[in-house]
């Protein structure tokens, strides 16, 4: 089974090399003479007067957490889709598997409707 993932490994290695090699080459081949002005943060010619990190609005967090929850829902859907044909040989199991997943999605749709009705999805 793992042979199928060999291209992925090659891809990861090439990706890492693509990112790292130019930086390493620059570091190794180029002259390296830092001074105070060179290493200071460059901000359009101004003196940097505060940290670049600033506080985010909590609304981003809300969007991100709703995204995670539905992402998890998709993660649950995937093995179900992969197995659906096989476990549904008999009619009873077929109905069970189908209803089961729709109950699952239905419960989450309640959450979706709640978030929507509350206006959590509006950006304002």
């Amino acid at each position: 089974m793992l042979e199928n993932y060999f291209p992925v490994l090659v891809f990861v290695i090439v990706g890492l090399a693509f990112g790292c090699v130019p930086l390493l080459l620059g570091r190794l081949l180029g002259p390296h003479r830092p001074d105070r002005e060179k290493t200071s943060a460059y901000e359009c010619g101004f003196e940097a007067f505060e940290e670049a990190r600033m506080q985010f609005d909590i609304r981003y967090y809300l969007i991100a957490i709703i995204f995670i929850l539905f992402d998890l829902e998709i993660a649950f859907l995937f093995p179900w889709a992969a197995i659906f044909k096989e476990i549904t040989e008999s009619p009873a199991v077929r109905t069970f598997g189908f209803v089961e997943m729709f109950v699952f999605i239905g419960i989450l749709v309640v959450g979706y409707a709640y978030a929507w009705a509350k206006g959590a999805l509006d950006w304002e």
Partner: protein, 213 residues
């Protein structure tokens, strides 16, 4: 050494190193990025164990979503790292002691039963074996009830997130289209009847005003 073994040690070494950097990095943003690296390597190890669904779900859910959330949390909190780090060396012995006790306890309870070489089945996957399908077969038949409970837990999480972080803003300038369409003329416009005759301005007054200018 076999190629798989080489890969395992490579993944494990990078995993341990990046996990160490997560707790030692000075900048919390760097710590989050090292955690991403640690997840990638853990996913690689799972892949070596033939747990392909878990490996891909780890990348998709943790790297793709949870770490973004971590990043938002790091960005939202205004932490002064220096003040958090103060007293690190004072607390270190106590922390190490507590950590060691926890590890020893967990090893004593779980170690022999679940992680000894006898307890682990020798899972040589035969051709056509699909981890995803095995997972699905168990999850959607034997474990149907826990599976439905998982959706309830997700629902609780959605509602908790909305309740905790969502608030109506009073100062927004968003349009409320329904309200705008439902408006009737009388809500916006008031017709006032006024007397049609006005007091005519006298010439004298107008002249003095000109003079003042």
């Amino acid at each position: 050494m076999e190629f798989k073994t080489v890969l395992f040690y490579l993944f494990a070494a990078v995993l341990v190193a990046s996990a160490l950097r997560v707790v030692t990095a000075r900048n919390p943003v760097h710590a989050v990025l090292f955690l991403v690296l640690a997840f990638f390597n853990a996913s690689g190890i799972w892949m070596l164990l033939d747990a392909e669904f878990l490996a891909i779900a780890l990348v998709m859910v943790y790297v793709g979503a949870v770490m973004v959330l971590f990043m938002f949390v790091v960005m939202m909190l205004d932490i002064n790292i220096e003040s958090v780090r103060r007293g690190f060396w004072n607390y270190l012995p106590l922390g190490l002691l507590v950590g060691t006790i926890l590890v020893v306890e967990m090893a004593a309870v779980l170690g022999q039963r679940y992680f000894s070489l006898d307890a682990l089945p020798n899972t040589a996957a035969e051709a056509g074996y699909s981890n995803t399908k095995e997972l699905g077969r168990l999850l959607y038949t034997d474990y149907a009830y826990p599976f439905e409970l998982a959706s309830v837990i997700l629902l609780v999480a959605i509602i908790a997130a909305v309740v905790l972080t969502h608030r109506e803003r009073k100062d927004t300038k968003a349009q409320k289209i329904g309200e705008q369409l439902a408006t009737r003329r009388d809500d916006r416009l008031r017709i006032v009847s006024m007397a049609s005759v006005k007091e005519a301005p006298s010439v004298e007054k107008a002249v003095t005003e000109e003079g003042n200018k």
